[in-house]
């Protein structure tokens, strides 16, 4: 059994699976249940300034989209930061940390954008013995209207400024949580790094409307006939999150900046993918909200098995895929593959045919006996047939060997060559 213990910016935890700052980490009761289930750490749900706590709506807070069999694919929420008194949260954090010394406990913070507010909250959390702070510059709903959350995270200068304040007034490790509601995720990450952040965590939730009620004509979740945009999360956002993690991991300006990966992580495999793209650990929320805390047991056993089978340690996994994330212009244009349909596995549904015939390259033939075959002289290897096939691995992409002739183009498969040197590239011609 692989050793999963993780050291993320000096914060140790028995495994790299943390619960993200969110409803599941709002109070001692839940957090202790999470620790009992095996979670390596939690980021306590965001605390605000001293004073009257925020209030939440008293109608639905969550909206969702589903896949087949009502499997939850995406969730959005309009819940604000903790609505419990600051003193209660601080007391519980202290109690939990004393009882669970081996687990990571990080406090998420969101206070108004002035130095005194940040100084004050940092002093108040000092004697909780928490392991670090996470600056919530991410939540896109509610608090952003009050100049906090993603309203800060969308302005790199603010991120840098607040991060500096935090590092100035606290010795705690500081993680800056980024909003994805921005055009270039590298800019806020760079700002956090300039401000002295020890790490970034991402993504926070994505602005979204999950559905519209076609009877009341209101967005869901609907509060008395009205709805507002909420923060989207869950399996559906994972591809967006992974790209953002990878962008930061491979950018020259931010390379080496520790990343806590967040966004739709549901299984050990999702976690491993984030880590391969550079995340030193991962944070989970929607999967726990969907299935309960017990899922961490599958994550632990699955990641252990994977590392054992690969004969690598956890730290070997982190960033392992980063060198292979590149720009389109560097992709090998001389790499040629063809789809191949395994007739033994084919159940003859014809989805590949419909997809290819109607929407792609007319490269699949259909016989009267419903035998579907790829026509190599038409196939551009787009992969759509693979994606729509209901049978795993029935259709595969088979690379052509170097030196063979692509029947579609008549060209011989050659050595690596990319767009930067391609004759059709205007900038290449301009240079000549």
């Amino acid at each position: 059994m692989a050793n999963l213990s993780a050291d993320f910016i000096g914060i140790k935890s028995p495994n790299p699976f943390w619960l993200a700052s969110a409803p599941p980490t709002d109070k001692k009761y839940n957090v202790e249940r999470a620790f009992e289930a095996g979670w390596g750490g939690v980021v306590w749900k965001t605390l605000g300034s001293e004073g009257p706590p925020v209030v939440n709506v008293n109608g639905p807070r969550y909206g969702a989209i589903w896949g087949a069999d009502r499997r939850l694919l995406g969730l959005n929420n309009i819940e604000l930061i903790t609505d419990r008194p600051l003193a209660v949260n601080l007391q519980e954090i202290k109690e939990v940390k004393r009882k669970w010394r081996d687990r990571a406990l990080v406090i998420s913070l969101m206070v108004p954008c002035d130095e005194d507010s940040w100084k004050d909250i940092l002093h108040r959390i000092e004697d909780t013995e928490a392991d670090g702070v996470e600056l919530n510059f991410g939540c896109p709903h509610g608090m952003a209207e009050r100049g906090m959350g993603s309203a800060v995270g969308q302005v790199p200068e603010y991120i840098e400024m607040v991060t500096r304040w935090v590092k100035k007034h606290s010795r705690m490790p500081c993680i800056v949580k980024l909003t994805p509601n921005i055009s270039d995720i590298r800019k806020p990450a760079e700002a956090a790094k300039r401000g002295g952040a020890d790490a970034v965590s991402l993504i926070n939730t994505i602005n979204s409307i999950t559905s519209v009620n076609l009877d009341s004509f209101s967005p869901e979740p609907m509060i008395d006939g009205k709805g507002t945009h909420g923060g989207y999360c869950g399996p559906a956002v994972k591809p967006i999150a992974m790209n953002m993690v990878a962008e930061i991991a491979r950018s020259a300006e931010t390379r080496g900046l520790p990343i806590s990966g967040i966004g739709g992580i549901t299984t050990w495999r999702d976690a491993a993918e984030f880590m391969a793209l550079g995340a030193g650990n991962v944070q989970v929320c929607t999967a726990a909200m969907t299935y309960g805390f017990k899922i961490v047991q599958e994550m632990i056993s699955g990641l252990s098995q994977y590392l054992d089978e690969k004969e690598i340690g956890l730290s070997d996994l982190v960033g392992r895929a980063v060198p292979n994330v590149t720009d389109w212009q560097y992709l090998n244009l001389n790499y040629v593959a063809k789809a191949h349909i395994n007739q033994d596995d084919c159940i003859k549904c014809g989805r590949c045919y419909a997809a290819c015939e109607d929407t792609s390259h007319q490269a699949i033939s259909m016989s009267p006996e419903r035998v579907f075959e790829v026509m190599d002289d038409e196939c551009v290897a787009c992969n759509l047939c693979v994606n729509v096939c209901p049978v795993d691995n029935c259709i595969t992409m088979v690379p052509m060997a170097k030196g063979t002739v692509d029947p579609r183009t008549g060209a011989t498969v050659g050595d690596y060559a990319n767009w930067t040197t391609h004759p059709n590239n205007p900038s290449v011609q301009a240079a000549e």
Binding site: A68, I347, K348, G350, R351
Partner: protein, 439 residues
């Protein structure tokens, strides 16, 4: 009532009163909304889907399932009825395991097809419960068509003709419309009087007059119909029953299974319907199974189906055979009746074992005897009462001739299934419409 399953002879009331309702309740309970959504989720929406090809009425199955999955079962029902106006009954009685569900790619993938029949029932039940009838009559054409036989073929033909604006008169020899849906199907497959509800629903399109108690050849001739109407459709079914050609088959206690099934369907209080203690059913089709299972459900102690060939030759589907066995019916293969034994009433049947060889069936000298106070003959139906002058092929009406179209079990081609009859009736209506429109 003091009778029990052990009471000798053919007697009513073998079971406690409450048992009848339970035994003859809906054999396959309908899916509820949640179950239907889960079942519909499994459809892959195949290209040129094999299930459509396998359906004799060619219902666009992937489309109607997608309509269920997206919360519009009413639209799904319209898709079904557009091809098969008796889609509700077919959802209940079709041998789906040899038709659409056998062709389902998920049968190939996992051995578990999408539950197409059950989903079809869900959609049509929902729409019928809402009183939807999504078809209207075209402008009246002034043409009149006679349909003989108010079974599935005749009803499907009549509805499609009415839709096209023709006036239809349906002549039915029995007291009720519905044909085998009303008289020939096991009660638990069409519980709750569904056959008549569906007939009423079908007729709500208007333009169809049903005249019951009118028999072709007895009350009216084909020539009269041809003279009085612009076209005639014959969907007269197979009214004759094959004989055993075994000694003793005229003894009291020996009966045609189709009559028993029809009587059972028309009996309001099943505790009054007599059934034997030891019932033997001779035959290998759906009729044999329906008679045997219902005998068991009426409280017969021992029910045995005896079929002269092997299991694989039985025309009852594997699903039906399993249902019979699970209901407590014993099935004996490869045995043919030699004689019915009895003094004034059947008491037993002697069978000879058979061999099914390249030169046909041969009887062995090896015999056995089954106790039988009631014997049902279910060895197939034949065409009787067909008007003279019509071409006959393989014992069935061969095809259309001047002003006369045919369809359903009485017509050559296709299996003798409700769904096939619907397809033939519908297609004949289209052909009649084309002819009457001068196209």
């Amino acid at each position: 009532m003091t009778n029990s399953p052990l009471t000798p002879g053919i007697v009513p009331g073998r079971l406690p009163a409450a048992a009848y309702a339970a035994n003859f309740a809906d054999h396959t309970p309908p899916l509820d909304g949640h179950e239907a959504r889960v079942a519909a989720d499994r459809c892959y929406f195949c290209h040129d889907a094999p299930c459509i090809t396998a359906c004799p009425t060619a219902i666009d199955i992937p489309l109607f399932i997608r309509q269920i999955a997206t919360g519009t079962p009413e639209a799904a029902a319209t898709t079904i009825w557009t091809q098969n106006i008796l889609g509700g009954m077919c959802a209940r009685v079709c041998p789906t395991e040899t038709l659409c569900e056998e062709a389902c790619v998920r049968e190939a993938a996992e051995g578990k097809p999408v539950e197409i029949g059950q989903l079809q029932r869900f959609a049509t039940d929902v729409a019928m419960a809402k009183g939807l009838h999504p078809f209207e009559r075209a402008a009246a054409t002034g043409k009149r068509v006679a349909v003989v036989g108010a079974g599935p073929a005749g009803l499907a033909c009549a509805h499609r003709l009415a839709m096209h604006g023709h006036d239809v008169v349906v002549l039915e020899r029995r007291a009720k419309a519905g044909g085998l849906n009303e008289y020939g199907i096991a009660s638990y497959k069409a519980a709750g009087g569904f056959a008549q509800k569906e007939v009423d629903w079908l007729l709500s399109i208007g333009g169809i007059e049903i005249r019951t108690g009118v028999e072709l050849g007895r009350d009216v001739t084909l020539d009269q119909l041809k003279a009085d109407y612009d076209a005639v459709f014959l969907g007269i079914g197979l009214a004759g029953v094959n004989a055993l050609r075994a000694a003793g088959e005229d003894l009291p206690g020996v009966r045609d299974a189709v009559d028993f099934i029809a009587e059972l369907r028309q009996t309001a209080d099943l505790s009054t319907l007599p059934v034997g203690r030891d019932v033997v059913v001779i035959g290998g089709g759906m009729t044999a199974v329906d008679a045997a299972v219902q005998s068991k459900l009426l409280g017969a102690e021992n029910v045995t189906i005896v079929y002269r060939r092997g299991r694989e030759k039985m025309s009852a589907s594997g699903h039906e055979q399993d249902h019979a066995v699970q209901s407590g019916v014993r099935i004996i293969h490869n045995a043919a009746p030699a004689k019915v034994i009895g003094d004034g009433h059947a008491t037993a049947v002697e069978f000879a074992y058979t061999q099914d060889g390249p030169n046909g069936l041969t009887l062995s000298s090896e015999t056995f005897t089954l106790k039988a106070d009631q014997v049902f003959k279910a060895i197939g139906q034949t065409l009787t009462g067909a008007p003279d002058g019509l071409a006959v092929s393989g014992g069935k009406l061969a095809g259309p001739s001047a002003k006369v179209w045919v369809g359903g079990d009485c017509a050559a081609g296709g299996e003798d299934l409700t769904v096939t009859a619907v397809a033939e009736g519908r297609d004949a209506a289209e052909a009649i419409h084309a002819a009457l429109s001068g196209r």
